[in-house]
Symmetry: C2
Subunit: 232 residues, 2 copies
Amino acid sequence: MLGKFYGLGVGPGDPKLLTLKAAEVLKFVPVVAVPKSRADRDSVALDIARNHLSPGAEILELNLPMTSDPVVLEMAWQAGAERIFDKLQAGSSVAFLTIGDPSLYSTYQYVLEKLKGIAPEVEVETVPGITSFAACAARVSEPLASGDEPLLVLPAVDEKLGEYLEQFPNLVLMKVSRDMERIMAEMSAHGRQALFVSRCGSPQEAVVRDLSSLAGEKVDYLSLILVGPKGE
Amino acid sequence: MLGKFYGLGVGPGDPKLLTLKAAEVLKFVPVVAVPKSRADRDSVALDIARNHLSPGAEILELNLPMTSDPVVLEMAWQAGAERIFDKLQAGSSVAFLTIGDPSLYSTYQYVLEKLKGIAPEVEVETVPGITSFAACAARVSEPLASGDEPLLVLPAVDEKLGEYLEQFPNLVLMKVSRDMERIMAEMSAHGRQALFVSRCGSPQEAVVRDLSSLAGEKVDYLSLILVGPKGE
């Protein structure tokens, strides 16, 4: 009998932000799949979940490189799905860990699609997780958005940022580390204030309200910026 | 000594989607504040959290009517904050429960602002929660947004919906119950497919992929619609 496949959101960093459901699944699941982007970097998702794993759990490291090359990505997702399927076929359930929430910008969705291609009959359960932006807003006890105001979540900064800053009162800018100079320039050009948070809920957490103080600094890749009416 | 004030997200409905942190706070906090919008309607947030309360916990029902009258609202938030402050002043910590996440469209933020006005020295901790849209996407194991695509969250439908449907690949429409006819018309006019979910994770859950089947139906007030590229 095939094992069951779980996609588990483990939240952004604080192990206490795991859901009861995710902790429950981790307690019994024999195989935990963790995406690994570089050989020299530990899996953040695994660090968050570590204390909840069953003692004998097997860690299945999936090599999922951070690249924009579609051929390399497709191959990595397919290879990951095949390794997961091997375990499922052996009767073991597998939990795929994802930082934050598995429905938002997660490799989980791509691997899941490949897995469904291999074996459409696999039973799948996705467990939502606390998003990084909800945790950051909670960290400072400020709203992401209130009343009838829209919230725009941007996973990457493109040429439309200026337009969006004029159009929307509340924005979340994710994965900002490579675009800090440009973001700072746009914020200042459009008169918007922002809150910068990196590694929210982890021992390395940093919260910065004056973006200009980050000029020239190297910024952690798990960083985001909240733009809201409160800062203005 | 003043008690501590907690804002707790309890997620959208399934009690297992509480975070470990929220469950931990509920276990020791002597007073639990719950917003109540109508005398004849039970608090959904309290229902979700009920099994985690300490046996002797006091339930502080705050009358927070669903109205758009700013004077009535301001008075209700102020009165709620004053009742909470009475408990804090007596040395009891208070947890304010909120469905979903306390940073997104929650009354918690307004009550917190009033409380800070009464007693800026109160210690506050906000615990993030699973958002309804993350739970709904997980329910069907589909992404809310992928790659570099933005996600637009709309708490209310206004005249810009059509424009947004053209502009963005992924949208979340919250609190849709009063605007279903209009939303169905716009979806059809802009050739977008959508997923309707009400009471996600609760025994009353409903998932509907063909919006037209809801024509003329009464829709639960805890309903949302996910619009994404997958449906097209």
